[in-house]
Amino acid sequence: MSTLSAEARIALAIARKDAVAELRGRHATVSTLFFAAVVLLLFGFALGPDAARLAEAAPGLLWLAVVFAGILAVNRLHLLETDDGALEQLALYPVPRRAIYAGKALAGFGVMLLLGLVVLGAVAVLFAVDIGGAWLPLLVTVVLGSAGVAAVGTFYAGVTVRLRAREVMLPLLMLPVLAPLLLGAVKATAAALAGDPFGELGAWLQLLVGFDVIMIIAGAATYGYLLEDG
């Protein structure tokens, strides 16, 4: 009934709709970026002022900031659908459910990627981290990490969008699942920055790829059930 390219077009339309609405909306993306920056500042206060200690902790702090801000970002993208019953209307279109998931996850990925790159830059500045020749593996890590947060976050934002106590349930459900992603991203970042002395970068990136693929498939397969709610 629907070909892959037709589904892709639908997913892209949804992602574009989200992007346009988000950019025009209450400037939430900017707020999310600033939130990440504030989190980094607080890390500095909490763990500083020893520059060496901060530089060593930098990969972890980077990804913690990304994940925390990511919770806000995916939450916002689903809040878009609370505009006057938009989610119910979305569910009524004769489109495959996984295309809807793909579209929203794609929009989430866009926001997360932007977030990741900005936080990477901020961490480099605030914690005196020398990126130097490691920019390529770092970029790959940010891309893979952002994809994972977007895939998982979009799914759980869908679960909690009409749930009571949404603000606490979204992080509560999302964060444990993200633990392996956090581990992989932090280790890969640290390895990349150190020049990969033990040759472990490849293994961690593989973990990220595996996580992303599995979670995207899981999300696409199950998201549709959330739309039959009513």
Partner: protein, 257 residues
Amino acid sequence: MPQTTIYVSPRSLGAPDTRPPAVATTDLARLFAGSPALAGVSLRVDGGRTVALLGPNGAGKTTLLRLLATAIRPSYGQASVDGLDLARDPALVRERVAYLSHATGLYDDLTGRENLRFAATMLRTPDPEARVERALADVGLGARAADRVRDFSAGMRKRLALGRILLGCASLVLLDEPYAALDREGMSLVDQLLVAWRGVGVTVIVASHSTERFESLLDGRVTLERGLVREASGTGVMSTPPSLPGGAALPVAEAAR
């Protein structure tokens, strides 16, 4: 003001005799938090008919429409649209049903045109750009199409939602209180839409408080009360009482009805 014909997408529906009933339900029921919004509706509406769904607030009109639109699942009973079972083939049903609810399902931060363009992609409307412009013109929003929906009045939002229905090719159109919040021109638009749909054989069910406005277009009327059919009359509309536990045992007074 010149009357232009509204573009309603044709759908090959077949000759009236060969079509399965547009709506056929058996003991359809839906409960919310343990209490029945719809207690057992057995209804049949033939294809191509325009039917009014009447009843006081809380009678179950909206619930019935939402069930037929596949927005919610039935708790009990069975229902089919154009011969397609709601529970088994909801995706196929969605392709043929259009639903105007109280909520408009529009995105506030997008313009009128963008909302319809998005809908056209979702509905896989052929020749989307031209159809969107035509739909905007048909519902009288051509001038405001570039404004954000956030700035629309309630009546304009409803018109845009009707425009969205024009982008599809539904064979069953469900309208929940279409006249509410519309000015005189808006109401006349709904009248024209009813005529246009009737002209191409689309089945229309209109939930409303009164039928004064579209009396002449009606084939039948169904009145709900407390989640059950109180009365069903007209051509192409039929209703049977819901079944009770123990099968065919009906109170004697009922058999005489």
